[in-house]
Symmetry: C2
Subunit: 174 residues, 2 copies
Amino acid sequence: MKISTRTEYGVRVLVTLARRGAEGPLSLTGIAKAEKLPHAYLEQLVGDLRRAGLLTATRGQAGGYQLSRAPEEIQLAEIVRALEGPLLEMPCAGPDNLESCDRPQPCSVHELFQRVYEALDGTLTATTLADVAATAGGPPYPPSVRRRAAEQHAVMVAANNKQTNRAVSVQEQA
Amino acid sequence: MKISTRTEYGVRVLVTLARRGAEGPLSLTGIAKAEKLPHAYLEQLVGDLRRAGLLTATRGQAGGYQLSRAPEEIQLAEIVRALEGPLLEMPCAGPDNLESCDRPQPCSVHELFQRVYEALDGTLTATTLADVAATAGGPPYPPSVRRRAAEQHAVMVAANNKQTNRAVSVQEQA
DNA sequence: GCCAACACCGACCAAATCAGTCGGGATTCA
DNA sequence: TGAATCCCGACTGATTTGGTCGGTGTTGGC
């Protein structure tokens, strides 16, 4: 499973807005420059976020974007849904056509995906934009925190690689 | 986020093998017919599952595939990794190139994805093939179970559609 | 010894999705 | 008027997805 750049960029935009607080709108050009993201591409994402009611735009000179709610009130699940559509799309019986699965109900795969969906939805609903913004990478972080985060990340990467490497080595043995 | 047909098909194949028990190998042609899946495509997936050590093949006439371990010993996380690679791929600092993220560590998006990864890995590691096979859609299920599963599924679908629909209605108001 | 049934493998292919770019509007303020 | 901004649809090249096709290797049965 993959998380697209849409989500990454979208979250970054919202995080920068959340950190700025309510000091008036922030232009997309400014955000794009600060975060080193492609401006034209961001326009699309930000349009989706606006249509989902997560941020409001003010036009004209000195215009820009603001969060339409407090960061504590914005669940990550909303952001991901706005940017990527359904949290989890199942191949058999997609969300839009429930009847498309002609297999016997309850279907084993349905139940499995239900569990995965709940795990995903649970964490993304429990996490708010404020949580993410609070974690975030402004300069003033004690080295201990940085080290711990790096370690966590390494563990995650290792876990991801484990199965892949095993498959490769099995292949090489033959 | 989307679950590919690879995973769906792969799980179905393994579930049918798990239900069959240790009664000798089952031919892919048989599985494909029973599950109504494209045989030629399955060959690819099954090759990955074999290389990952999840099932063993016997060639020649009356050959086929068997689970190489008991269904209780096979975690869903292994299956998904064998079929789709890393459980969760992050855009910034992908699993194969840790240093690709030049943003300040700890980066807010890293931490967020870490949480999502843990949720995903947790449920997929906790679930075994035996669990999924036990749930599964043989005919003899009491109506109460079928009803409850259908309701769960409907809730999931509704939750998925909610945000999308809201966005649409907001758009229509303008 | 041959044939049928199976696993195995690489190449190929059409359609969809991703990650953007481009060009042109519409609004607002100075 | 003009600059800065949001807004929108069309386009594009690369990659991924979901397969198909043709051929090879292996095994048991007649």
